[in-house]
């Protein structure tokens, strides 16, 4: 009796959709990790808010001075940039561990692998939510000239989260197999922090600004940052993000489809 087996590709897509759709599991697991980390502390997750606040307050005046920029324009830029970088960098760094850290689950029960990725994204988004307070305070003290572009902020965050899905699957998969990738990613992230306009403004590159177009992290940073700082809408950056999303998912689905079943044997 010959039956049609579902293809690797359709199994990968099924994992993706049912994983994202497991809305009873990943929000709970992600939230639990936040609670767990701060269970016996007074401020709880607001420790993160506090440490981000201190960082911005300490680095703002210093780097404003170094770059010769006035505080009312530099501080909002720096606050938004640092906190967004914490989100992006955190997502990338933790993507390496998604499957390795979920070994107990993966070897015991059948759950869509995407659930573990969603859990990491959700946890980072909750942390980002706490850090938003710092951004809100700085922007209220030094309000930029906002326009309707502010409405693009939620959309940009959503796109960032969507991209974190393929990135988590891809990095999680590769790192489960090759254990020397996580340290490589960590050191690349440190370099990327300086190469990406987090502390410095893109305009400072002058006529070399084109070089930034080769930095995918710049696209994500800028589409989220610009609406908050009252800067204009850049079709080329948004177009770039859409392109990265499509290519990212295409590559990931192919690799994930091919190697998905190997994950429990690797972790």
């Amino acid at each position: 009796m010959e039956r049609i087996r579902p293809s690797n590709l359709s199994l990968a897509l099924q994992d993706l959709t049912s994983g994202v759709g497991s809305i009873y599991i990943w929000p709970m697991l992600g939230w639990l990790e936040i609670k767990q980390r701060y269970r016996r502390s007074v401020l709880g997750p607001f420790w993160l808010t506090l440490s981000s606040g201190v960082m911005v307050a300490a680095m703002g005046p210093l780097y404003g001075r170094l770059f010769n920029l006035d505080l009312p324009t530099y501080l909002p830029f720096l606050a938004v940039s640092l906190i967004l970088w914490a989100l992006i960098g955190g997502l990338i760094a933790e993507s390496c561990q998604v499957f390795i850290a979920a070994e107990g689950f993966i070897k015991q029960i059948k759950l869509p692998y995407t659930v573990h990725v969603m859990r990491v994204i959700w946890r980072n988004m909750i942390i980002f939510g706490h850090n938003l307070i710092v951004i809100a305070v700085v922007l209220l003290v030094f309000p930029p000239s906002w326009s309707w572009h502010l409405l693009l902020f939620p959309l940009a965050i959503f796109l960032l989260a969507v991209n974190a899905i393929w990135m988590g699957l891809l990095l999680g998969l590769v790192c489960a197999r090759f254990r020397d990738i996580p340290p490589i990613v960590t050191s690349l992230l440190q370099v990327a922090f300086f190469l990406t306009p987090v502390m410095w403004r893109p305009e400072m590159l002058g006529r070399h600004q084109w070089a930034l177009l080769w930095n995918p992290l710049y696209y994500f940073l800028e589409i989220v940052r610009a609406p908050l700082l009252g800067q204009g809408f850049s079709p080329s950056l948004w177009g770039g993000v859409v392109l990265i999303t499509v290519v990212g998912f295409a590559v990931t689905i192919l690799l994930f489809g091919r190697f998905r079943a190997r994950i429990p044997y690797w972790v």
Partner: protein, 237 residues
């Protein structure tokens, strides 16, 4: 309907040494055709299950017997859907409850009530299905107001009672169990056995691994013998 069909199921574990896990070696191997990194390519493969075929249907109480390392747990994990066979096919029809690790998903820093939700959600239940069970779990586990306290404050026996109470409150077509579950002091144990037996009686298929043949003969109507990953016999008793 519930059934489990295995056709020539094969499970091979790659054992990666530090060499084959390294990307450098993978690159060198690709770039030099394996000339430079001889040895790194010698991936050791452990064949945990080979060529297993069977069919379990409603009413089957299958006991898996084998020595340590014979592949019992691996087979259960394949049935649970955690491992996909590296060769052959497995078809499981029906809702599976895996009792392979009854504390999976629990967090000892969280309270007893939170853990009921955690454990039950991991077993596939939805919040609205869990809520009606709370009272019964509270009563059965005899934990009372302790359920408001973090599980880390429990004795190990209390924690096991909670895990057992939640894990046995699911209903499923197929139940997988690695060794007979036994928790608590003698008085609780009797109660727990009654609850477990009741749950197992309601299940359509039970697959239970143990190296205690007496226990298997008492509770099962089919015996599958595993030896070094091979199925040596499948008999009805």
């Amino acid at each position: 309907m519930a059934s489990i069909v295995a056709r020539n199921v094969m499970v091979e574990f790659p054992i990666y040494g530090t060499k084959s896990r390294s990307m450098k070696n993978a690159f060198m191997r690709a770039a030099t055709g394996g000339l430079l990194t001889t040895g790194a390519d010698e991936r050791v493969v452990v064949r945990a299950l080979r060529d297993i075929s069977f069919r379990f249907d409603v009413g089957d109480r299958v006991g898996i017997i084998g020595h340590n390392g014979s592949g019992k747990s691996t087979l259960l994990r394949v049935l649970a859907g955690a491992y996909e066979p590296t060769g052959g096919e497995i078809d499981v029809a029906g809702k599976v409850a895996s009792m392979l690790s009854i504390t999976l998903g629990m967090d000892f820093e969280a309270t007893g009530y939170e853990n009921i939700y955690l454990r039950a959600t991991v077993m596939g239940m939805r919040p609205f299905e869990i809520e009606p069970l709370l009272g019964e779990i509270r009563e059965f586990s005899e934990l009372g107001d302790y359920l408001d306290m973090p599980v880390r404050t429990y004795s190990s026996g209390m924690a096991m009672r909670l895990a057992f109470a939640v894990s046995t409150s699911v209903s499923a077509d197929i139940i997988l169990m690695d060794e007979w579950l036994n928790v608590g002091d003698p008085s609780f144990s009797a109660k727990a056995q009654a609850r477990l037996t009741d749950l197992l009686d309601r299940a359509k298929i039970l697959v239970f691994a143990s190296n205690d043949e007496g226990m298997i003969r008492k509770n099962c109507n089919r015996i599958l013998r595993l030896d070094h990953g091979e199925m040596t016999s499948l008999e009805n008793i």
